[in-house]
Symmetry: C4
Subunit: 282 residues, 4 copies
Amino acid sequence: MSRFPDDNPLPEKAPLLSWRARMHEVIFEADTPAGKAFDVLLIVCILGSVLAVMLDSVKSIRLAYGPLLTTVEWIFTVLFTIEYLLRLFSVGKPLKYAGSFFGIVDLLAVIPTYLSLVLPGTHYLLVIRVLRILRIFRILKLVQYLSEARMLMQALRSSGRKITVFLFAVLTMVIIFGSLMYMIEGEAAGFTSIPRSIYWAIVTLTTVGYGDISPQTNFGQVVASVVMVLGYGIIAVPTGIVTVEMGQAFRKKGVSTQSCQECSADGHDPDAVHCKYCGSKL
Amino acid sequence: MSRFPDDNPLPEKAPLLSWRARMHEVIFEADTPAGKAFDVLLIVCILGSVLAVMLDSVKSIRLAYGPLLTTVEWIFTVLFTIEYLLRLFSVGKPLKYAGSFFGIVDLLAVIPTYLSLVLPGTHYLLVIRVLRILRIFRILKLVQYLSEARMLMQALRSSGRKITVFLFAVLTMVIIFGSLMYMIEGEAAGFTSIPRSIYWAIVTLTTVGYGDISPQTNFGQVVASVVMVLGYGIIAVPTGIVTVEMGQAFRKKGVSTQSCQECSADGHDPDAVHCKYCGSKL
Amino acid sequence: MSRFPDDNPLPEKAPLLSWRARMHEVIFEADTPAGKAFDVLLIVCILGSVLAVMLDSVKSIRLAYGPLLTTVEWIFTVLFTIEYLLRLFSVGKPLKYAGSFFGIVDLLAVIPTYLSLVLPGTHYLLVIRVLRILRIFRILKLVQYLSEARMLMQALRSSGRKITVFLFAVLTMVIIFGSLMYMIEGEAAGFTSIPRSIYWAIVTLTTVGYGDISPQTNFGQVVASVVMVLGYGIIAVPTGIVTVEMGQAFRKKGVSTQSCQECSADGHDPDAVHCKYCGSKL
Amino acid sequence: MSRFPDDNPLPEKAPLLSWRARMHEVIFEADTPAGKAFDVLLIVCILGSVLAVMLDSVKSIRLAYGPLLTTVEWIFTVLFTIEYLLRLFSVGKPLKYAGSFFGIVDLLAVIPTYLSLVLPGTHYLLVIRVLRILRIFRILKLVQYLSEARMLMQALRSSGRKITVFLFAVLTMVIIFGSLMYMIEGEAAGFTSIPRSIYWAIVTLTTVGYGDISPQTNFGQVVASVVMVLGYGIIAVPTGIVTVEMGQAFRKKGVSTQSCQECSADGHDPDAVHCKYCGSKL
């Protein structure tokens, strides 16, 4: 397992690791038994705390087990606080960690509970606590699923611009059709304003179709039919884009792992005989 | 037709088959006239019994034809019991069969009816009887559709990890958006708890859109629009994954593994007789 | 334009065509000015008659313009009857035509109106009249869109077996999940019988989501969520199958048009240097 | 940045540009600082004016800020009028511009407001004002997203015929199934006429599923299930078409057209320096 950029710079096989380096190995890595045990424990805590937040939102459960859930919440908060401090301490550059994506998520996992002591209206802080679920991805980062995730992300990123153009076209269609339906149907059918009609157009174009607003007039139903068929058809566009990009992203992996002995370039086709950059034989 | 792993080890063309081997051939295989007739009969019985269970659940039919349906049910149960015992008897290793997937399904096909004699509340046993439909796949296993099914399964299995990563991302999105909507909309609009809001998020993201819960506030509709467009767009991800994997699974079958003896080029079409690069005979 | 199998066997450039052959050319073909004019007229009549049937079903229009619509209907019926008789007469083998798919559709286009004279209850004959729309495909057969349609049909036909396996799996899932929901939700939530619950499962798995039946209990919503995510995900399977098959069907067209000078085989890859069947240079 | 066909024919680096040419450069192009600033300003104005139209349609906002919105509307209208006149003036052939797609859109952006002075019923003019959003594409035309948009358009255009055949088949299915359901369900379930039943068929086939009309009889639900599974399955067709066409459109861009001077092999990656088959310099 290769080390990550935020890893401690000490060599892995050094006979004597400082206890700070060893702590880093346990907390940030997953290739030692202690590191794996820590990860499993962390996953259990994260899922447990998210489950507690969910249950706390169900009225009947909150009324019956309110105090218990508050206790559980505090236990998890204290655990996550200790973990956050240990991470800050064991990492080489604490400030860089604190400002990174996962550093902020780790902080957001504990702050709301403390804030609820001083601020009323914990209701809005509830959702921030749900963001703890994002911490799961920290463990994902360490395991074998990383390469699949990276491949998917790569395909999505390389199709990003085309998707943007597509979303732009969808937005324009939705605004025009929404306004059209506002004019055709009017307030009686629930198309009370252009923004609301645009909401209807999105519900219809994406084939969700709640049915809370639906056209009543004949002409409105004709226009709605056009929007539906359009939405049904143009889903082919993002699907086509992503499929083609994935085909290329996966093929690149199917690419030879050989690297040129002369210029050490890689990414050669499996059928290449010579390096395509310097021409020397592979 | 190739033999399956659980086949009787006797050679197929042995002049004298023991009656147990012959019974095995009829029950477990499909390449003799008797075996085919048995399979057709079995399909008829399976479909008939599942149909009987379905009809039995319709109140008006149960009131009118209750006793008839009970009789039919018992006939099928006795037939399936005999079949199960014959399978146990004719197979080489009865215990291994009894513990296999189809062994358990075969047992579950008969047990609920006997249990209904001693236990009240057959209601819950009803569904187990529907599992008989799974027995259809036993026949599928023996016929020509096997290779298509295997190809599909292979494509799905090789895309399993990427699909897992995708499902993981979907789960995270659904939890976060569900919690967000719980906070925004509140109880008035039906978002009574986070689990229920997550249910709404799944209904919306998968573009099912029942409309039993739908956002009422302006901001809620904006967030819902984001979830819809997201769901509409990211369906491209599993589609792309499966398409690419299928392309590879089908291509593997489609390309001959032969390589030219002269220039050792490969990638020849299955029907190629000569190397397409140097012209020498394959 | 190549001639079709049911064409008159007379050579196209014969200086003297019998009037029967000339009639055949006008009615069955599209490569003469008269033939094109006939086709355009036919399309107008077909669309007009289907439109008349549709308008006739709208109560307010039927009350206001009933007699007019009946007159229009009889005019179209007489025209189609004449056309049918002319087709019967001009074709080489009248019985073969009468028994062909389009022969039956042509007959069904006129019979209902005559039947309405003797039989009461034209209501059920109405829909048969709508089948006239299928006659449009007769014209499609003659024009340039044919090759695209043939290519699509070829891709669908070659993926037919895999699609069958997929539909089989969907059917099984729908039966099992439907029965499960019948057990979980019961009659209160609208799951009044297994067939009706299977209908719900189809509505949900295909992401249609009417919302006329929707789960009310917590556990029912969990199972429904599984069905939704499943339906959302497995749409990748038919899409993948058809995409891959289309890729192959279109690529075959993209295949080199070169044919071997020795063995006159074609279908060579664009990069082939030698004929892959006989080895001679292309 | 290449110039567009409607560009002024003066060379870009001419030391002295007439002020008309310079104005053209600012208004129609995006490769000078002034041109970019103009584009950004224009985008702000377009989005601002569309937002004003939207807000004006919300009753509560109109009642509270009506006069303000009218003032804003007039400011944007005057700005767009000045811009339109400047475009007319600075372009080489004003009439050709006025008759072009964007020329008409530019005119439609200002006319409704002036018409509202003389005509009552601005309600219907509202939607025309929303068409201003199309002017955004004018800016898109000038920026880097152009090539992605062009690639998407190319893939869609080359799949246009196949999509047409598909839409034709969908239309036929929808008419036949709609009529069938009108016959089966009748007026009680909301299937009051064939056009309305066709609307239902479109809602169902495209998996939108509002639920405002849904089958009530058993046979109607069976037919509806067939329509749903059909709609769920045949979405694979447009997706397959577009994916394959995109694969070809992207591949064309993706492969260098260079061929090796030694062995004249081609299909090299765009970044290849040496032939991957023989190693000679490209």
